[in-house]
Symmetry: C14
Subunit: 93 residues, 14 copies
């Protein structure tokens, strides 16, 4: 069971680090976007419709990069092709 253990260990570490490192950028980017939205609202309350609409589209775009990381992290934990191959190998032996 040695090589299976190594794959499991590596998948665990990578899944955790991927989402941990991967949210640094998006969360800072979103924080900047939200902050500017708020100061823009305070400066020009009449344009609130356009501002919030643009904000939500922008947040969705930034959030998408965090979701890429989350997807890869989940794939590594629950649909890992290399792990599945190993299981199939072990079962077929």
């Amino acid at each position: 069971m040695d090589s299976m253990t190594i794959i499991a260990v590596v998948s665990i570490i990578t899944a955790g680090l991927t989402i941990a490192i991967g949210v640094i950028g998006p969360s800072l980017g979103e924080g900047k976007a939200v902050a500017t939205a708020l100061s823009s609202l305070a400066q020009q309350p009449d344009a609130s419709a356009t501002i919030t609409r643009t904000l939500f589209v922008g947040l969705a775009m930034i959030e998408s990069t965090a979701i890429y990381c989350f997807v890869v992290s989940m794939i590594l934990l629950f649909a890992n092709p290399f792990w599945n191959y190993g299981i199939a190998q072990a079962a077929g032996q």
Copy 2:
């Protein structure tokens, strides 16, 4: 019990580091967002309804990236697929 120990060790380290590194970005981003909200409120008290609403939506969006990390951290501690597989292997022996 050797390979089980390695998986346990790696899961513990990864669970801790994931949430520790993963909250750096969101907390700084939220701090920036809250700070701008406060200075916007001071500048334009009349727009407080729009500002706080936009702030809470933005905070929820940023908090979501921290929650991704928390979810992965909890999965690694309490619903770790590789650990469960190992337990099942050991039980089936």
Copy 3:
């Protein structure tokens, strides 16, 4: 008792580092939020009710990310599932 020792060692290190690294972001974020609240109060004393209310909601949200880390740290020290499993294994031997 070898593998139990390794789990204990790793739990101690991870518990400490998780809370140590995990409070960097929240404390800086809260410092920024409090600082802006104070300068907003000085600028617009009339809006102090709205400002302090928004500040406390924001601080609670930021503090929550520090609490995630504290929770994981406490789980690792006092409710560590891998340690409990090892104890149960050792007891059942």
Copy 4:
């Protein structure tokens, strides 16, 4: 199965790190772009058509660099040429 395991391990680590490191730049860049778009909207609401159009083209261009990373990450997980070669070698033995 030794060399296959190494390739699997390396593919897992690289797939995770590629997307994790790769989204830092795009998410920060998009955050900056969205933030400026919002403050520009607040400053010049009449130019909102030009601004949002330019913003979306720019976001798409920045997002493309994140997608390069996502593509490489997916190739490594699901269409890894070196893994396929190894499988073919093992099957042909």
Copy 5:
């Protein structure tokens, strides 16, 4: 006494690093908060009651994150569950 020594060594290192790294954020955050309070007081001496009250609540909140680290550090030195378990094991032998 080998495994006990390792736990002791790791507890010492972690206790020191936890508090050392853990006070960086809070002290910088408090410094920023105090600094802004002082410049706010100079700018609006009439609001000193509100400002100092908000400052102390904010400082307490930021200090709490440093105290989390101090608590974990003290637990590791004086109420370490893994150390106690080891002592109990050694006593029961």
Copy 6:
């Protein structure tokens, strides 16, 4: 198959890191360019034709550096001269 494995491993790691590190600069640079374009549009809407034209030429130039990295990454995965040489060697044996 040992030396082939090493080449495969190294190609996988390098392909991932090349594109991951390589997009940091371009995405930040493009974010800055797009951001300035937007604030320039808000400041001088009449010059929008010149601004967007210059922006797209600039973005293409910056994107080209990301594409250099993508090209090298793809070459390493699908047209790796050292891998091909090794395959030819193995086939000719």
Copy 7:
């Protein structure tokens, strides 16, 4: 005397690093607080009573985080529970 030496070595290193790393944050935070106090005094000499009082409370709060580190450092040198346990063990042998 081997395990005692390791504990001694680790205590020395940790005691030094704890105080060395631990004073970086407080000293910078206090520097910022003192600096702002001075410029506030220059700007509003009439409020010097309130400013210096708030400054000293704030400095005490920030200094407290440096004192946490100093306390842990002294505990490790002069009241180290793990060292005392080892001495007791050696004496009781």
Copy 8:
């Protein structure tokens, strides 16, 4: 085939890192140049001819440093003198 493998491995790693690290500077520099060009155009639309001409000369100069890296990277992959020498040695044996 051992020493040939090492040269191949090192060439792959170096080719990737050279272009990956090498584009960070140029892309950031070009982003800054393009950004300033855009804000200059918005400020002084009448000087657009001089500005864009100077911009393109400058971009070409900056791009040249990225191309140095690309050239070295391509030389390492397709015209590597050390690899060719090794091939010639192996052929002449």
Copy 9:
């Protein structure tokens, strides 16, 4: 004399690093405080009594953190409890 040497070596390294790392923060903090004091004096020469008094109290407070490090460094060199214990052990043998 082996374990005594290790303690000596570690004490030397730690004593040096403690004071070297430990003065970075205080010296920068004091530099900032002195700098602001000077610009405050230039701005409001009439308040020089209050400013210099507050400056000296603040410098003393910041210097105290450097002195913590110096104390620990001197203790490690000239009153090291672990070294003394080792000497006593060696003498009592």
Copy 10:
């Protein structure tokens, strides 16, 4: 052929890193110079002759530092004195 391989390996790595690290500074410096040139042109179009002449002299000076790195990189690949000495040694054997 062992020592020749080591020299080849080291030459490849150094050639790549030299140009990769060496262009970071020049490209950022040129980006800054070009950016300021553009904003100076927008501010003072009448001095465009002096500005562009000074810019090109400055760019050439900065570029020269990148060329130093390129020269060393090329020397290591194609006119490496240590490699030539080794070849001569091997030929003379």
Copy 11:
């Protein structure tokens, strides 16, 4: 002579690093203080007596932290207690 050599080696390295790292902070802090003093003198030449007096007190305070490092560095080279103990041991053998 083995353990004496190790102590000598460690003392040399630590003496050098202590002073090298230890002057970074003081020199930057003094640079900042002198710079502000000069701009304050330019702004308020009449207060030059107070400014230069405060400057010299402040510089002395900052320099003191550099001198702590120099003292430790000299102690390690010329009055190293552990080295002296070793010499005495060797002489008394």
Copy 12:
């Protein structure tokens, strides 16, 4: 030929790194100097003679530090005293 190889290897690495690291500072410094020269020219075209003369003297001074590195790098490649000594030793054997 072992020790000659080590000297060759170390000379190659050091020659490359010396020039690569050594041009970072000069190129950034020159970029800053050129940039300020350009904005000074735009601000005060009448002083162009003094400005360009001072600029060239300054650039020459800064370039000199890059040339120190280039000289050391060339010495290591083509006039390496340790290599020459080794050659002489080998020839005299």
Copy 13:
């Protein structure tokens, strides 16, 4: 001659690094001080006597920290007490 070689090697490395790291701070600090002196001279030419006198005193103070490093570096190369002791030991054998 083994332990003498180690001391020589360590002295060489430390002498180089001490002066290399040790001049970073002073040179940046002096650069800042000179820069402010120049802009102060431009702002208040009448105070040039006071400004240049204060500048030279300040530069001497900052330079002194670089000279501490140079002194330690020279001591390590030409008056190294540990080396001299070793020579004396070797001579007295």
Copy 14:
């Protein structure tokens, strides 16, 4: 010839790194000083005599720190006391 080789290797590495790291600070500091000199000249052309004189004294002072590094680097290459001692030892054998 083993210990001579080690000394040669270490001297080469240290000579290169000393000058490479050692010019970072001076070149940046000189860049800053020259840049301020140029903007001061543009602001106050009448004070050009005082400004350039002060600039050259300042540059010489900053350059001196780079020359310390160059001197140490040259000593290590051409007047290395430890190398000379080794040569003398080898000759006297």
